[in-house]
């Protein structure tokens, strides 16, 4: 029996598990799911299921495991690494019908939600009690908490508040063998290995989260936002260093360059100061007394570094105005370029200036425009590589610039992805960052969960089929001696 026959033979069983309306086989319907946030990776899923309960998810996965059929989990499909790219020979398990907020438990500061719940809806449910859910990826209005688990999502405010992994105390998961397992709960520090910590950010390769217990934080007493305009990126970068160096930990520090500002102006008329070569957005939150004194300090530091205009926002409406340009930046670039690639590299913060300079040089040499929007506080760059997809070869040239930017990040001691994940998009860059032994350890971990290799296969870890054989893959012992890593102490 061919793979597609195997899949078709499963359809009646899938219908028995998820109901007739929970299984999509029609081509037009399946087409809706052929890609996630990265549309240039597309594949028509073999079958799509829309389970409504953890038991249904477990039933579907069990069926896949029995027949050796791959499955791909998907939340809202907003991911930016093609982590939810479907498989023609597999089942796409979509959690969008699991959208209940099960409990808001204020005395214990927890929320229990299903994986399809929108990130922002957790905060909406907690807000009347004076609480919120901290991770705030830009797509928070539509991205799912389950997807955030898969990607270990951060957001603009993760500089101070951390990532999804720092905010989850309990997970119910369906393992790649189709078993429902409860890990942790409302209490911290579940006994045993921290499987929750390792599961978060595993991009659907270790199973599917079906119920999630998250921490809720008390809303800050005060929030103040500063917009500072500089002549150029150098001055802006120095201001960031000055703020961090002074011991201030803002909730967010974001920076945009002239091209990103131009795009944002064209799209949403955010009215950032005219002539700015760089704008910095610094947000401070916390107890009022702390925020006020730090705000003065940050304002002074920005001025010292040459900010020619400073605006402050103390209420939600003013804050929205300041954030509008930044939040719209990705989409706005569509106004000034027919197509673009978003990168997600990370550099040590002290290397920001140098790496930005080299990106500018790359752009000048190649004639390909690069707009920079980034989380300056933690060195997470989002260069937008602009190109015209109607022009032959332009996509490939943009892709080359994009890859060269990642190389710069790795060279500077950074990472190939700060928050978008590896997925399919960066899987062949993994060997640039990790050695064969590192990848082998990760692969062993994966197999502990998924011995059959059916959970979101060919994502996250490189395979020879996808990325070619790498020379020098080592088997055996004594790697430290061999690779001279004695200095690793």
């Amino acid at each position: 029996m061919s793979q597609s026959d195997t899949l078709h033979a499963l359809v009646p069983d899938l219908r028995a598990i998820c109901g007739d309306d929970g299984v999509l086989t029609d081509t037009a319907q399946r087409r809706t799911y052929e890609s996630d946030g990265i549309t240039y990776h597309a594949e028509l899923p073999g079958v799509v299921v829309l389970p409504t309960t953890p038991e249904q998810v477990a039933g579907v996965v069990r069926l896949c495991a029995e027949h050796g059929v791959p499955f791909v989990p998907r939340g809202s499909g907003t991911g930016l690494s093609a982590g939810a790219l479907p498989r023609a020979d597999g089942v796409l398990i979509v959690t969008s019908r699991m959208r209940r907020i099960i409990e808001i438990d204020i005395p214990n500061e927890r929320a229990v939600v299903e994986p399809g719940v929108f990130n922002l809806d957790v905060t909406r449910a907690a807000a009347p009690h004076g609480y919120y859910y901290a991770p705030d990826p830009s797509s928070q209005q539509v991205c799912s908490v389950g997807g955030n688990i898969a990607e270990n999502s951060g957001g603009a405010h993760c500089l101070k508040y951390g990532f999804t992994v720092n905010h989850v105390t309990g997970l119910q998961i369906v393992t790649p063998q189709g078993e429902l397992v409860e890990l942790g709960g409302k209490a911290a520090d579940a006994p045993g290995y921290d499987l929750i910590g390792a599961f978060i950010g595993s991009e659907g390769t270790l199973g599917i989260a079906t119920r999630i217990t998250v921490r809720l934080l008390r809303s800050p007493q005060k929030v103040r936002t500063l917009l500072a305009a500089f002549d150029g990126m150098d001055a802006g970068g120095r201001a960031v260093s000055a703020v961090i160096g002074a011991g201030v930990l803002p909730a967010a520090i974001e920076m945009m360059d002239a091209l990103a500002i131009e795009a944002a102006e064209a799209a949403v008329a955010c009215r950032y100061p005219e002539g700015a070569g760089a704008v910095l957005i610094v947000e401070l939150d916390g107890p009022a007394a702390e925020v006020d004194s730090q705000f003065e300090q940050v304002t002074r530091l920005c001025r010292d570094e040459g900010a020619f205009e400073l605006r402050s926002a103390d209420d939600p409406a003013e804050r929205t105005t300041i954030w509008k340009g930044r939040k719209s930046a990705f989409a706005a670039v569509g106004r000034i370029s027919p197509a673009y690639i978003v990168q997600d590299g990370v550099v040590p913060r002290t290397a920001l200036g140098e790496v930005l300079g080299r990106i500018a040089a790359l752009s000048a040499e190649s004639g390909i425009r690069v707009a920079n929007v980034f989380h300056a506080g933690d060195g997470n760059l989002h260069p937008l590589v602009l190109f015209d997809d109607a022009e032959p070869g332009a996509g490939d040239r943009a892709e080359a610039v994009s890859a060269a930017i990642l190389d710069l990040c790795i060279e500077a001691g950074g990472s190939i992805t700060g928050e978008h994940g590896v997925g399919v998009d960066k899987v062949c860059h993994m060997p640039d960052m990790f050695g064969p032994d590192d990848l082998a350890a990760m692969d062993r971990f994966r197999r502990a969960f998924d011995p059959q290799g059916i959970a979101n296969p060919e994502k996250l870890l490189p395979t020879p089929r996808l990325c070619g054989e790498r020379p020098g893959a080592r088997k055996g012992v004594h790697p430290l001696v061999a690779s001279g890593e004695a200095e690793l102490f």
Partner: protein, 414 residues
């Protein structure tokens, strides 16, 4: 099969590191070791582990040995690997990041960072700990309330596997989602998944000002109400610590860190919530230490936030009824606390207290951190129920197929 003689073994190991016969001091929770080796660096440790794998020796990594009795007794311990020489500090101050060798004394790391106005926001819970020991046991002190437990501050790790092969995960930047975060499972794994060679941490600047607000009461209900009121407030404490010695009143300490003016105003806000509050300018030297003495049985329990005081009270009352004066101390702010049952308490009484603790909680866990070998011999249930054990077993087998790394020290006999 024929086992190599002890002297052949020792000679083979000695090619990679100085090896000596174990003494009476080289035990872990009552399990005696045979040999102790002290590799000069990570490369030597790697080679030593490779040799131990060929010789099929069970291996126990040891830092300064301050928590070597934590967990269950290892089933066997042929070789202790002393990590003292796997030391070194590589501080990237501008990036607020540090990499430290496993054997680096934790106090030394703190000193170096403090000189640069920075800190790793993990309190030294057990004095004399090494970096590797803190991470391998996952002990996290009062400041975990604001900064998270130690595993949250680890951004990269290099681990030597059962065969000595080094594997790294994470990196040197805080924001990084490339690959599995394997450091998460190593943190708190008590050396059962590998030997931690070096760890990279994210750091924080030392806040300019600090204030502690303290209040006492004999009534757990009143203290519980204070803790609840603090949660509803917006003062953002760095830590909320409960200290309830066996005899005497409960005290609650609220640590505030920030700017001078900020902490002053926040301290006033906290004082308004607590009854009879006193404000202090420093934390007591022992405030991060577990309660009780070194020979007491040390339990750890984690419960939902609103259950902290009721759980502590239940344990306290049950101890008193059994003639054991139980001391409770820990993070009321996170719901993770220690309890000390006095040394000499009968094993069945300790077991009953543990079961009462577990049975009484709607959610959470209670485990034995450290117990006298006699209690282990009497069958003390160290871990209780561990959900997800089948997955943990698979992870263990993947990392350590022959179960030679600290075998039996961890949950579920892993």
């Amino acid at each position: 099969m024929a086992y190599p003689s002890e002297s052949t073994e020792q000679a083979a190991l000695a090619a990679h590191a100085p090896v000596r016969a174990a003494t009476a001091a080289d035990t872990a929770a009552g399990t005696a070791a045979r040999l102790v080796a002290a590799p000069a660096d990570a490369a030597a440790a790697s080679a030593l582990l490779g040799e131990a794998a060929r010789l099929r020796l069970s291996v126990l990594p040891r830092g300064n040995g301050t928590k070597i009795d934590w967990g269950a007794p290892p089933r066997s311990c042929d070789l202790i690997i002393d990590t003292a020489a796997l030391s070194g500090i590589d501080h990237a101050a501008g990036d607020l990041v540090v990499r430290a060798g496993a054997g680096t004394p934790f106090a030394e790391l703190r000193r170096v960072l403090a000189d640069a106005g920075q800190r790793l926001s993990v309190d030294e819970v057990v004095p004399g700990s090494t970096v590797g020991g803190v991470v391998a046991t996952g002990v996290s002190g009062p400041r975990r309330m604001q900064h998270g437990p130690v595993r949250d501050l680890v951004i990269g790790m290099t681990v030597l596997g059962h065969d000595g092969v080094a594997a790294s995960s994470g990196g040197r930047v805080v924001k990084n989602v490339a690959g599995y975060d394997l450091a998460k499972v190593q943190a708190g794994a008590l050396g059962t998944l590998g030997l931690i060679a070096s760890v990279t941490f994210r750091l924080h600047p030392v806040p300019p000002a600090l204030r502690v607000v303290r209040a006492e009461s004999d009534d757990p209900g009143a203290v519980g109400a204070w803790a609840a009121a603090l949660r509803r407030s917006q003062v953002m404490p760095t830590a909320v610590e409960l200290d309830w010695p066996g005899g005497g009143p409960l005290s609650l300490r609220v640590l505030l860190e920030g700017t001078g003016q900020g902490v002053a105003e926040r301290a006033d806000a906290v004082a308004a919530v607590l009854d009879g509050a006193k404000t202090e300018d420093a934390v007591p030297a022992d405030w991060a230490r577990p309660p009780g003495g070194p020979d007491d049985t040390l339990l750890e329990f984690a419960v939902p936030l609103a259950e902290v005081l009721p759980t502590a009270a239940r344990l306290h009352d049950a101890g008193a009824a059994a003639g054991a004066s139980v001391a409770v101390k820990g993070s009321a702010g996170c719901g993770v606390l220690y309890a000390a049952v006095p040394a000499g308490t009968a094993p069945d009484a300790v077991q009953r207290l543990l079961l009462l603790l577990r049975d009484g909680m709607a959610a959470g866990s209670a485990t034995v951190r450290r117990a006298h070998p006699d209690l282990h011999a009497a069958g003390l249930e160290v871990w209780g129920e561990v959900p997800g054990l089948a997955l943990m077993r698979a992870v263990k087998s993947g990392c350590d197929p022959d179960h030679r790394l600290s075998p039996g020290r961890f949950a579920g006999g892993l």
